[in-house]
Protein backbone atom coordinates (compact mmCIF):
# COMPACT_ATOMS: atom_id res chain seq x y z
CA UNK A 1 0.00 0.00 0.00
CA UNK A 2 1.38 3.46 -0.90
CA UNK A 3 1.78 6.24 1.61
CA UNK A 4 -0.98 8.12 -0.24
CA UNK A 5 -3.39 5.23 0.27
CA UNK A 6 -2.31 4.84 3.90
CA UNK A 7 -2.92 8.49 4.65
CA UNK A 8 -6.17 8.66 2.69
CA UNK A 9 -7.49 5.60 4.52
CA UNK A 10 -6.61 7.16 7.84
CA UNK A 11 -8.55 10.33 7.08
CA UNK A 12 -11.46 8.33 5.67
CA UNK A 13 -11.67 6.37 8.91
CA UNK A 14 -11.47 9.63 10.83
CA UNK A 15 -14.32 11.01 8.72
CA UNK A 16 -16.37 7.91 9.49
CA UNK A 17 -15.72 8.34 13.24
CA UNK A 18 -16.49 12.05 13.19
CA UNK A 19 -18.96 12.69 10.37
CA UNK A 20 -19.79 16.31 9.67
CA UNK A 21 -22.79 17.32 11.83
CA UNK A 22 -26.10 17.41 9.98
CA UNK A 23 -26.85 20.83 8.57
CA UNK A 24 -23.29 22.00 9.21
CA UNK A 25 -23.10 24.02 6.01
CA UNK A 26 -26.38 25.90 6.44
CA UNK A 27 -25.85 26.49 10.15
CA UNK A 28 -22.27 27.73 9.69
CA UNK A 29 -23.16 30.10 6.86
CA UNK A 30 -26.13 31.47 8.76
CA UNK A 31 -24.10 31.86 11.96
CA UNK A 32 -21.34 33.70 10.07
CA UNK A 33 -23.75 36.11 8.38
CA UNK A 34 -25.47 36.81 11.71
CA UNK A 35 -22.27 37.20 13.76
CA UNK A 36 -20.59 39.31 11.09
CA UNK A 37 -23.41 41.87 11.08
CA UNK A 38 -23.93 41.67 14.85
CA UNK A 39 -20.20 42.17 15.53
CA UNK A 40 -20.05 45.23 13.33
CA UNK A 41 -23.05 46.75 15.11
CA UNK A 42 -21.61 45.85 18.50
CA UNK A 43 -18.27 47.41 17.57
CA UNK A 44 -20.02 50.60 16.46
CA UNK A 45 -22.05 50.78 19.70
CA UNK A 46 -18.95 50.05 21.79
CA UNK A 47 -17.07 52.80 19.96
CA UNK A 48 -19.82 55.35 20.65
CA UNK A 49 -20.03 54.31 24.32
CA UNK A 50 -16.24 54.56 24.69
CA UNK A 51 -16.18 58.02 23.11
CA UNK A 52 -18.99 59.27 25.36
CA UNK A 53 -17.24 57.87 28.45
CA UNK A 54 -13.92 59.44 27.43
CA UNK A 55 -15.54 62.87 26.97
CA UNK A 56 -17.31 62.52 30.34
CA UNK A 57 -14.09 61.53 32.17
CA UNK A 58 -12.04 64.37 30.64
CA UNK A 59 -14.85 66.86 31.42
CA UNK A 60 -14.98 65.61 35.03
CA UNK A 61 -11.22 65.89 35.49
CA UNK A 62 -11.15 69.41 34.08
CA UNK A 63 -14.05 70.37 36.37
CA UNK A 64 -12.23 69.22 39.54
CA UNK A 65 -8.85 70.58 38.45
CA UNK A 66 -7.34 67.10 38.27
CA UNK A 67 -6.38 67.08 34.60
CA UNK A 68 -2.80 68.29 35.10
CA UNK A 69 -2.18 65.90 37.97
CA UNK A 70 -3.33 63.01 35.81
CA UNK A 71 -0.16 63.44 33.78
CA UNK A 72 1.92 62.70 36.86
CA UNK A 73 0.62 59.18 37.37
CA UNK A 74 1.00 56.30 34.93
CA UNK A 75 -1.98 56.33 32.60
CA UNK A 76 -3.68 53.22 31.32
CA UNK A 77 -4.45 53.75 27.65
CA UNK A 78 -6.78 51.15 26.28
CA UNK A 79 -5.70 51.19 22.67
CA UNK A 80 -5.16 48.16 20.43
CA UNK A 81 -1.48 48.99 20.03
CA UNK A 82 -0.98 48.99 23.78
CA UNK A 83 -1.71 45.27 24.00
CA UNK A 84 0.52 43.54 26.54
CA UNK A 85 1.53 41.07 23.80
CA UNK A 86 2.58 43.59 21.18
CA UNK A 87 4.66 46.79 21.16
CA UNK A 88 3.20 50.11 20.01
CA UNK A 89 2.73 50.28 16.26
CA UNK A 90 4.06 53.52 14.84
CA UNK A 91 1.95 53.73 11.68
CA UNK A 92 3.13 53.18 8.08
CA UNK A 93 6.78 52.34 7.30
CA UNK A 94 8.74 55.60 6.80
CA UNK A 95 10.44 55.91 3.41
CA UNK A 96 14.03 54.71 3.40
CA UNK A 97 13.86 52.80 6.69
CA UNK A 98 14.91 49.14 6.18
CA UNK A 99 12.53 46.73 7.89
CA UNK A 100 11.90 43.03 8.40
CA UNK A 101 8.35 41.93 7.68
CA UNK A 102 6.47 39.36 9.72
CA UNK A 103 3.00 37.99 10.10
CA UNK A 104 1.08 38.51 13.29
CA UNK A 105 -1.68 36.59 11.56
CA UNK A 106 -1.67 35.34 8.01
CA UNK A 107 -4.31 37.70 6.63
CA UNK A 108 -4.45 40.68 4.29
CA UNK A 109 -3.95 43.11 7.18
CA UNK A 110 -1.75 40.83 9.29
CA UNK A 111 1.66 42.01 8.05
CA UNK A 112 3.86 44.12 10.34
CA UNK A 113 7.38 45.47 9.98
CA UNK A 114 10.22 45.88 12.45
CA UNK A 115 13.02 48.36 11.80
CA UNK A 116 16.56 47.40 12.74
CA UNK A 117 16.24 49.87 15.59
CA UNK A 118 13.31 47.90 16.98
CA UNK A 119 10.39 50.16 15.97
CA UNK A 120 7.25 48.37 14.75
CA UNK A 121 5.21 49.61 11.79
CA UNK A 122 2.04 48.49 10.04
CA UNK A 123 2.39 47.24 6.49
CA UNK A 124 -0.23 48.39 3.99
CA UNK A 125 -3.14 45.97 3.54
CA UNK A 126 -2.26 43.65 0.65
CA UNK A 127 -4.10 40.89 -1.23
CA UNK A 128 -1.94 38.19 0.32
CA UNK A 129 -4.33 35.39 -0.52
CA UNK A 130 -3.38 35.70 -4.17
CA UNK A 131 -0.06 34.01 -3.61
CA UNK A 132 3.14 33.75 -1.67
CA UNK A 133 4.83 36.74 -0.15
CA UNK A 134 8.56 37.40 -0.39
CA UNK A 135 10.10 40.62 0.92
CA UNK A 136 12.91 42.64 -0.57
CA UNK A 137 15.94 42.81 1.76
CA UNK A 138 15.04 46.36 2.85
CA UNK A 139 11.35 45.48 3.25
CA UNK A 140 10.23 48.29 0.94
CA UNK A 141 8.54 45.84 -1.41
CA UNK A 142 6.96 42.43 -1.37
CA UNK A 143 6.31 40.04 -4.22
CA UNK A 144 2.82 38.59 -3.99
CA UNK A 145 1.98 36.17 -6.76
CA UNK A 146 3.15 38.00 -9.88
CA UNK A 147 2.83 41.55 -8.51
CA UNK A 148 5.32 43.60 -6.50
CA UNK A 149 3.71 45.91 -3.93
CA UNK A 150 5.16 48.90 -2.10
CA UNK A 151 4.81 48.01 1.59
CA UNK A 152 3.95 51.60 2.59
CA UNK A 153 1.57 52.65 -0.17
CA UNK A 154 0.46 49.24 -1.55
CA UNK A 155 1.21 50.60 -5.06
CA UNK A 156 1.44 47.59 -7.41
CA UNK A 157 3.95 46.91 -10.15
CA UNK A 158 3.97 43.78 -12.34
CA UNK A 159 6.86 41.36 -11.88
CA UNK A 160 8.84 40.46 -15.00
CA UNK A 161 6.57 37.49 -15.74
CA UNK A 162 2.86 36.87 -16.02
CA UNK A 163 0.63 34.65 -13.89
CA UNK A 164 2.64 31.45 -13.62
CA UNK A 165 2.59 29.14 -10.63
CA UNK A 166 5.86 27.50 -11.70
CA UNK A 167 7.95 30.62 -11.01
CA UNK A 168 9.66 31.31 -7.69
CA UNK A 169 11.19 34.73 -7.08
CA UNK A 170 13.95 35.98 -4.79
CA UNK A 171 14.68 39.69 -4.35
CA UNK A 172 18.21 40.87 -5.10
CA UNK A 173 20.41 42.68 -2.59
CA UNK A 174 19.57 46.08 -4.14
CA UNK A 175 15.90 45.45 -3.19
CA UNK A 176 14.89 46.33 -6.76
CA UNK A 177 15.92 43.45 -9.01
CA UNK A 178 14.70 39.86 -8.76
CA UNK A 179 16.06 36.41 -9.50
CA UNK A 180 13.57 33.90 -10.84
CA UNK A 181 13.42 30.15 -11.15
CA UNK A 182 10.95 28.88 -13.70
CA UNK A 183 10.17 25.17 -14.05
CA UNK A 184 10.45 24.52 -17.77
CA UNK A 185 8.29 21.43 -18.15
CA UNK A 186 6.94 18.51 -16.17
CA UNK A 187 8.57 16.00 -13.87
CA UNK A 188 12.26 15.56 -14.72
CA UNK A 189 12.60 18.89 -16.52
CA UNK A 190 15.18 21.61 -15.72
CA UNK A 191 14.56 25.20 -14.63
CA UNK A 192 15.33 28.53 -16.26
CA UNK A 193 17.17 31.02 -14.07
CA UNK A 194 16.57 34.64 -14.97
CA UNK A 195 16.89 38.14 -13.54
CA UNK A 196 14.79 41.24 -14.03
CA UNK A 197 13.17 44.39 -12.69
CA UNK A 198 9.46 44.80 -11.94
CA UNK A 199 7.85 46.34 -14.99
CA UNK A 200 10.61 45.16 -17.36
CA UNK A 201 11.18 41.95 -19.32
CA UNK A 202 13.24 39.22 -17.66
CA UNK A 203 16.75 38.27 -18.86
CA UNK A 204 17.42 34.54 -18.97
CA UNK A 205 20.78 33.50 -17.52
CA UNK A 206 20.85 29.72 -17.63
CA UNK A 207 18.86 26.50 -17.82
CA UNK A 208 19.97 23.96 -15.23
CA UNK A 209 19.04 21.36 -12.64
CA UNK A 210 16.13 18.95 -12.56
CA UNK A 211 12.67 19.06 -11.01
CA UNK A 212 11.48 15.86 -9.39
CA UNK A 213 8.10 15.56 -7.71
CA UNK A 214 8.13 16.77 -4.08
CA UNK A 215 11.75 17.93 -4.35
CA UNK A 216 12.45 21.69 -4.13
CA UNK A 217 14.72 21.37 -7.20
CA UNK A 218 16.80 24.34 -8.45
CA UNK A 219 16.66 27.01 -5.73
CA UNK A 220 18.23 30.48 -5.55
CA UNK A 221 20.36 30.74 -2.41
CA UNK A 222 21.67 34.26 -3.09
CA UNK A 223 20.69 36.90 -5.62
CA UNK A 224 23.31 39.64 -5.70
CA UNK A 225 22.85 42.48 -8.15
CA UNK A 226 25.58 44.43 -6.34
CA UNK A 227 28.18 41.65 -6.77
CA UNK A 228 26.72 40.51 -10.13
CA UNK A 229 26.26 36.88 -9.01
CA UNK A 230 23.42 34.41 -8.54
CA UNK A 231 23.99 31.32 -6.36
CA UNK A 232 21.73 28.41 -7.26
CA UNK A 233 21.52 25.00 -5.57
CA UNK A 234 19.91 21.80 -6.75
CA UNK A 235 18.03 20.76 -3.61
CA UNK A 236 16.78 17.22 -3.05
CA UNK A 237 13.93 15.72 -1.04
CA UNK A 238 15.56 16.10 2.35
CA UNK A 239 17.22 19.55 2.08
CA UNK A 240 20.33 17.89 0.61
CA UNK A 241 22.23 19.91 -2.00
CA UNK A 242 23.28 17.96 -5.10
CA UNK A 243 24.90 20.78 -7.09
CA UNK A 244 25.78 24.39 -6.47
CA UNK A 245 26.34 26.94 -9.22
CA UNK A 246 27.43 30.57 -9.21
CA UNK A 247 26.14 32.37 -12.30
CA UNK A 248 27.42 35.66 -13.67
CA UNK A 249 24.58 38.20 -13.49
CA UNK A 250 25.46 39.81 -16.83
CA UNK A 251 26.40 36.84 -19.00
CA UNK A 252 24.84 33.83 -17.28
CA UNK A 253 28.23 32.10 -17.42
CA UNK A 254 28.80 29.45 -14.75
CA UNK A 255 31.63 30.94 -12.66
CA UNK A 256 31.65 28.11 -10.14
CA UNK A 257 30.16 24.62 -9.95
CA UNK A 258 30.42 22.07 -7.20
CA UNK A 259 28.76 18.69 -6.78
CA UNK A 260 28.03 17.16 -3.39
CA UNK A 261 27.64 13.64 -2.08
CA UNK A 262 23.99 12.64 -2.04
CA UNK A 263 22.12 9.92 -0.15
CA UNK A 264 22.29 6.79 -2.29
CA UNK A 265 18.88 5.47 -1.22
CA UNK A 266 16.00 6.20 1.09
CA UNK A 267 16.96 5.82 4.73
CA UNK A 268 20.73 6.32 4.21
CA UNK A 269 22.03 9.29 6.18
CA UNK A 270 24.22 11.43 3.99
CA UNK A 271 24.31 14.73 2.19
CA UNK A 272 25.00 18.42 2.67
CA UNK A 273 22.69 21.27 3.53
CA UNK A 274 23.83 24.60 2.06
CA UNK A 275 23.00 28.25 2.61
CA UNK A 276 24.69 31.28 1.02
CA UNK A 277 25.47 34.78 2.24
CA UNK A 278 23.23 37.47 0.71
CA UNK A 279 26.24 39.02 -1.05
CA UNK A 280 26.94 35.66 -2.77
CA UNK A 281 30.49 35.49 -1.38
CA UNK A 282 30.21 32.55 1.03
CA UNK A 283 28.40 29.28 1.35
CA UNK A 284 27.96 27.22 4.53
CA UNK A 285 27.91 23.44 4.11
CA UNK A 286 26.40 21.36 6.93
CA UNK A 287 27.32 17.68 6.63
CA UNK A 288 24.73 15.11 7.78
CA UNK A 289 27.37 12.51 8.62
CA UNK A 290 29.70 14.67 10.71
CA UNK A 291 26.99 17.00 12.01
CA UNK A 292 29.41 19.89 11.44
CA UNK A 293 29.57 22.84 9.08
CA UNK A 294 32.25 24.46 6.97
CA UNK A 295 32.29 27.96 5.51
CA UNK A 296 33.53 28.15 1.92
CA UNK A 297 34.63 31.35 0.20
CA UNK A 298 33.32 31.01 -3.33
CA UNK A 299 35.73 33.46 -5.02
CA UNK A 300 38.71 31.12 -4.55
CA UNK A 301 36.91 27.93 -3.44
CA UNK A 302 38.67 27.97 -0.07
CA UNK A 303 37.36 26.59 3.21
CA UNK A 304 37.76 29.46 5.67
CA UNK A 305 36.12 28.09 8.82
CA UNK A 306 34.88 24.91 10.47
CA UNK A 307 32.04 24.89 12.99
CA UNK A 308 32.25 21.62 14.87
CA UNK A 309 28.88 20.07 15.76
CA UNK A 310 26.88 22.97 14.35
CA UNK A 311 24.29 23.42 11.61
CA UNK A 312 24.43 26.80 9.87
CA UNK A 313 21.01 28.25 9.02
CA UNK A 314 22.03 31.53 7.44
CA UNK A 315 24.44 34.46 7.19
CA UNK A 316 24.58 38.14 7.95
CA UNK A 317 24.69 40.46 4.93
CA UNK A 318 28.42 40.22 4.22
CA UNK A 319 28.72 36.67 5.51
CA UNK A 320 30.87 37.32 8.59
CA UNK A 321 28.30 36.08 11.10
CA UNK A 322 26.12 33.00 10.98
CA UNK A 323 23.06 31.68 12.79
CA UNK A 324 24.05 28.20 13.96
CA UNK A 325 22.58 25.51 16.20
CA UNK A 326 24.19 22.42 17.76
CA UNK A 327 23.83 19.30 15.64
CA UNK A 328 24.60 15.63 16.23
CA UNK A 329 26.44 13.46 13.70
CA UNK A 330 24.53 10.90 11.63
CA UNK A 331 21.16 12.61 11.78
CA UNK A 332 19.09 12.84 8.61
CA UNK A 333 19.28 16.34 7.10
CA UNK A 334 15.50 16.42 6.98
CA UNK A 335 15.65 17.06 10.73
CA UNK A 336 17.11 20.53 11.01
CA UNK A 337 18.82 21.44 14.27
CA UNK A 338 16.83 24.27 15.82
CA UNK A 339 17.45 24.07 19.59
CA UNK A 340 19.82 26.55 21.26
CA UNK A 341 20.44 28.76 18.22
CA UNK A 342 23.28 31.25 18.44
CA UNK A 343 24.94 33.96 16.37
CA UNK A 344 28.59 33.15 15.76
CA UNK A 345 31.34 35.24 14.18
CA UNK A 346 33.12 32.48 12.26
CA UNK A 347 36.24 34.60 11.75
CA UNK A 348 36.95 34.63 15.49
CA UNK A 349 34.88 31.61 16.51
CA UNK A 350 33.21 33.80 19.11
CA UNK A 351 29.59 33.12 20.01
CA UNK A 352 28.13 36.63 20.07
CA UNK A 353 24.59 35.81 21.14
CA UNK A 354 22.67 32.81 22.44
CA UNK A 355 18.93 32.32 22.41
CA UNK A 356 17.11 32.21 25.76
CA UNK A 357 16.90 28.76 27.33
CA UNK A 358 14.06 26.71 25.87
CA UNK A 359 13.64 28.82 22.72
CA UNK A 360 14.07 27.14 19.34
CA UNK A 361 14.82 28.67 15.96
CA UNK A 362 11.59 28.97 13.97
CA UNK A 363 13.30 28.51 10.60
CA UNK A 364 13.39 32.01 9.11
CA UNK A 365 15.95 34.76 9.33
CA UNK A 366 16.80 38.07 7.69
CA UNK A 367 20.07 39.95 7.32
CA UNK A 368 20.39 43.69 7.89
CA UNK A 369 21.20 45.28 4.50
CA UNK A 370 24.85 46.32 4.39
CA UNK A 371 25.09 45.77 8.16
CA UNK A 372 25.79 42.91 10.52
CA UNK A 373 22.40 42.67 12.25
CA UNK A 374 20.39 39.45 12.04
CA UNK A 375 16.66 39.01 12.64
CA UNK A 376 15.17 35.59 13.36
CA UNK A 377 12.04 33.99 14.69
CA UNK A 378 12.21 32.09 17.95
CA UNK A 379 9.56 29.74 19.28
CA UNK A 380 8.81 28.86 22.86
CA UNK A 381 6.11 26.22 22.96
CA UNK A 382 3.59 27.35 20.37
CA UNK A 383 4.46 31.05 20.74
CA UNK A 384 6.60 32.76 18.14
CA UNK A 385 8.57 35.97 18.53
CA UNK A 386 10.80 38.11 16.32
CA UNK A 387 14.28 38.80 17.70
CA UNK A 388 16.98 41.11 16.42
CA UNK A 389 20.65 40.70 17.17
CA UNK A 390 22.69 43.87 16.69
CA UNK A 391 26.29 44.34 15.64
CA UNK A 392 27.28 44.47 19.33
CA UNK A 393 25.83 40.99 19.92
CA UNK A 394 22.94 42.31 21.98
CA UNK A 395 19.68 40.56 21.16
CA UNK A 396 16.21 41.77 21.90
CA UNK A 397 12.68 40.57 21.34
CA UNK A 398 10.92 43.07 19.09
CA UNK A 399 7.42 41.55 18.99
CA UNK A 400 5.76 38.42 20.34
CA UNK A 401 2.88 36.13 19.46
CA UNK A 402 3.79 36.29 15.78
CA UNK A 403 3.27 33.58 13.17
CA UNK A 404 6.60 33.85 11.29
CA UNK A 405 8.92 36.17 9.40
CA UNK A 406 8.29 36.83 5.72
CA UNK A 407 11.97 37.18 4.65
CA UNK A 408 13.32 36.59 1.18
CA UNK A 409 14.85 33.28 2.13
CA UNK A 410 11.83 31.01 2.27
CA UNK A 411 11.93 27.70 0.51
CA UNK A 412 14.06 25.53 2.73
CA UNK A 413 12.29 26.02 6.04
Amino acid sequence: MTIREDVRNHFEREAAHHPAPQGLRAATLSHARGRGIEKRSAQWVAGVVAAVLAVAIVAGLVAVGGYRRAHNVPAVRPSPSASPLHPTVKGPIPTGVPVVLYWRTVAADGLYAASWGGAVYKVATLPVYQGLVTQSPDGSRVAVGFIAYDTTTAAPEPLPFGPNPSVTVTWADDSRHLCQVRVVGGDGSPSDISVGLPGSPEVKLARLGVNVQQSPGPTVLACSYLNRKVVVAQVGFGRDTHDLWVLNWDTGAVEYHRTYRVPTKYGVIDGTFTVASPDAQYVAETDAVTGSATIRRLADDTLVAHLDGEEVHGFSWHGDRVVAAPRLPNVDLVNSATSDPAVVDWRTGKTEWKAPVGAVFGGRLAAQPDGSGIALDLRTGTHGAIWMIGSDGAGRQVDSDIQFLVTGLIGLV
Partner: protein, 170 residues
Protein backbone atom coordinates in the same frame (compact mmCIF):
# COMPACT_ATOMS: atom_id res chain seq x y z
CA UNK B 1 -29.76 50.09 -0.16
CA UNK B 2 -27.83 48.72 2.82
CA UNK B 3 -30.27 45.78 2.99
CA UNK B 4 -29.85 45.06 -0.71
CA UNK B 5 -26.08 45.13 -0.39
CA UNK B 6 -26.17 42.73 2.54
CA UNK B 7 -28.46 40.39 0.55
CA UNK B 8 -26.06 40.37 -2.42
CA UNK B 9 -23.11 39.78 -0.10
CA UNK B 10 -24.98 36.94 1.63
CA UNK B 11 -25.69 35.30 -1.74
CA UNK B 12 -22.06 35.65 -2.84
CA UNK B 13 -20.85 34.40 0.52
CA UNK B 14 -23.01 31.26 0.36
CA UNK B 15 -21.89 30.54 -3.21
CA UNK B 16 -18.19 31.16 -2.57
CA UNK B 17 -17.69 29.77 0.92
CA UNK B 18 -20.51 27.19 1.13
CA UNK B 19 -18.77 24.42 -0.84
CA UNK B 20 -15.72 24.61 1.43
CA UNK B 21 -17.48 24.36 4.80
CA UNK B 22 -17.31 20.58 4.99
CA UNK B 23 -13.70 20.33 3.68
CA UNK B 24 -12.89 23.02 6.25
CA UNK B 25 -14.48 20.95 8.98
CA UNK B 26 -12.54 17.88 7.87
CA UNK B 27 -9.29 19.88 7.95
CA UNK B 28 -10.15 21.19 11.42
CA UNK B 29 -10.84 17.65 12.68
CA UNK B 30 -7.50 16.54 11.23
CA UNK B 31 -5.70 19.37 13.02
CA UNK B 32 -7.58 19.48 16.32
CA UNK B 33 -8.78 15.85 16.63
CA UNK B 34 -11.85 17.08 18.46
CA UNK B 35 -15.14 17.34 16.52
CA UNK B 36 -16.64 19.97 18.84
CA UNK B 37 -13.60 22.21 18.66
CA UNK B 38 -13.42 21.61 14.90
CA UNK B 39 -17.00 22.82 14.52
CA UNK B 40 -16.23 25.91 16.62
CA UNK B 41 -13.11 26.59 14.54
CA UNK B 42 -15.00 26.34 11.25
CA UNK B 43 -17.76 28.61 12.56
CA UNK B 44 -15.23 31.20 13.69
CA UNK B 45 -13.37 30.89 10.37
CA UNK B 46 -16.65 31.46 8.51
CA UNK B 47 -17.27 34.64 10.53
CA UNK B 48 -13.80 35.89 9.59
CA UNK B 49 -14.42 34.94 5.96
CA UNK B 50 -17.67 36.92 5.98
CA UNK B 51 -15.93 39.98 7.38
CA UNK B 52 -13.11 39.84 4.84
CA UNK B 53 -15.05 38.65 1.81
CA UNK B 54 -14.38 41.92 -0.05
CA UNK B 55 -10.67 41.16 0.05
CA UNK B 56 -11.08 37.96 -1.91
CA UNK B 57 -10.48 39.34 -5.40
CA UNK B 58 -10.56 36.06 -7.28
CA UNK B 59 -13.26 33.52 -6.42
CA UNK B 60 -11.09 30.80 -8.01
CA UNK B 61 -8.87 31.22 -4.97
CA UNK B 62 -11.78 30.64 -2.56
CA UNK B 63 -10.79 27.13 -1.52
CA UNK B 64 -7.21 28.04 -0.54
CA UNK B 65 -8.42 31.30 0.99
CA UNK B 66 -11.06 29.71 3.22
CA UNK B 67 -8.94 26.68 4.18
CA UNK B 68 -6.09 29.00 5.16
CA UNK B 69 -8.48 30.87 7.48
CA UNK B 70 -9.56 27.52 8.98
CA UNK B 71 -5.94 26.43 9.45
CA UNK B 72 -5.11 29.72 11.19
CA UNK B 73 -8.17 29.44 13.40
CA UNK B 74 -7.10 25.92 14.38
CA UNK B 75 -3.62 27.21 15.24
CA UNK B 76 -5.20 29.89 17.44
CA UNK B 77 -7.33 27.23 19.11
CA UNK B 78 -4.24 25.11 19.74
CA UNK B 79 -2.44 28.12 21.18
CA UNK B 80 -5.30 28.77 23.59
CA UNK B 81 -5.46 25.08 24.47
CA UNK B 82 -2.37 25.17 26.64
CA UNK B 83 -3.38 21.95 28.29
CA UNK B 84 -3.22 20.08 25.01
CA UNK B 85 0.40 19.15 25.68
CA UNK B 86 -0.66 16.86 28.51
CA UNK B 87 -3.96 15.86 27.03
CA UNK B 88 -4.41 12.16 26.40
CA UNK B 89 -6.39 10.82 23.47
CA UNK B 90 -9.97 10.01 24.35
CA UNK B 91 -10.71 6.37 25.11
CA UNK B 92 -12.67 6.04 21.88
CA UNK B 93 -9.87 7.45 19.81
CA UNK B 94 -7.20 5.35 21.49
CA UNK B 95 -9.04 2.07 21.26
CA UNK B 96 -10.61 2.50 17.84
CA UNK B 97 -14.21 1.82 17.06
CA UNK B 98 -15.71 -1.55 17.99
CA UNK B 99 -17.27 -1.61 14.52
CA UNK B 100 -13.80 -1.47 12.99
CA UNK B 101 -11.88 -4.63 13.73
CA UNK B 102 -9.15 -3.74 11.23
CA UNK B 103 -6.29 -4.06 13.72
CA UNK B 104 -3.72 -3.28 11.06
CA UNK B 105 -4.97 0.32 10.95
CA UNK B 106 -4.41 0.94 14.65
CA UNK B 107 -0.66 1.46 14.35
CA UNK B 108 -1.04 3.86 11.45
CA UNK B 109 -3.74 5.82 13.25
CA UNK B 110 -1.61 6.00 16.37
CA UNK B 111 1.36 7.19 14.33
CA UNK B 112 -0.80 9.82 12.63
CA UNK B 113 -2.04 11.08 15.98
CA UNK B 114 1.55 11.59 17.11
CA UNK B 115 2.25 14.00 14.26
CA UNK B 116 2.01 17.73 14.96
CA UNK B 117 -1.23 19.45 13.96
CA UNK B 118 0.55 21.23 11.12
CA UNK B 119 1.96 17.94 9.80
CA UNK B 120 -1.50 16.37 9.88
CA UNK B 121 -2.90 19.41 8.11
CA UNK B 122 -0.36 19.28 5.33
CA UNK B 123 -0.89 15.53 4.79
CA UNK B 124 -4.66 16.02 4.86
CA UNK B 125 -4.51 18.78 2.25
CA UNK B 126 -2.11 16.95 -0.06
CA UNK B 127 -3.20 13.31 0.21
CA UNK B 128 -6.85 13.52 1.26
CA UNK B 129 -8.15 16.70 -0.36
CA UNK B 130 -5.75 16.19 -3.29
CA UNK B 131 -4.80 19.86 -3.41
CA UNK B 132 -1.94 20.71 -5.77
CA UNK B 133 1.29 21.61 -4.01
CA UNK B 134 0.93 25.34 -4.78
CA UNK B 135 -2.46 25.43 -3.10
CA UNK B 136 -1.22 23.43 -0.09
CA UNK B 137 1.52 26.05 0.22
CA UNK B 138 -0.97 28.91 0.08
CA UNK B 139 -3.19 27.33 2.74
CA UNK B 140 -0.30 26.76 5.13
CA UNK B 141 1.33 30.09 4.25
CA UNK B 142 4.69 28.82 3.02
CA UNK B 143 6.45 28.46 -0.33
CA UNK B 144 5.83 25.51 -2.62
CA UNK B 145 9.37 24.29 -1.99
CA UNK B 146 8.86 24.44 1.76
CA UNK B 147 5.52 22.61 1.40
CA UNK B 148 7.24 19.79 -0.49
CA UNK B 149 9.92 19.55 2.18
CA UNK B 150 7.35 19.48 4.95
CA UNK B 151 5.29 16.76 3.28
CA UNK B 152 8.45 14.73 2.93
CA UNK B 153 9.35 15.35 6.56
CA UNK B 154 5.86 14.43 7.75
CA UNK B 155 5.92 11.18 5.75
CA UNK B 156 9.40 10.52 7.03
CA UNK B 157 8.19 10.93 10.59
CA UNK B 158 5.26 8.65 9.88
CA UNK B 159 7.18 5.83 8.21
CA UNK B 160 10.00 5.31 10.74
CA UNK B 161 7.44 5.30 13.51
CA UNK B 162 5.47 2.57 11.76
CA UNK B 163 8.64 0.56 11.14
CA UNK B 164 9.60 0.97 14.78
CA UNK B 165 6.24 -0.34 15.88
CA UNK B 166 6.57 -3.37 13.63
CA UNK B 167 9.94 -4.09 15.19
CA UNK B 168 8.43 -3.73 18.62
CA UNK B 169 5.78 -6.31 17.78
CA UNK B 170 8.32 -8.91 16.65
Amino acid sequence: MEGEREAVKARDFDAIVGPWIEPGYRLAVAMLRDPDEAQDAVQEAAVKAWRSLERLRDSDQARAWFLSIVANQCRSTMRRRWWSVVRLPSRDAAAGSPEEPAVQYVDLDRAMRRLSHDDRAILHLFYFLDLPIDEVARVIGISAGAAKTRIYRAVHRLRPELELMEEDLR
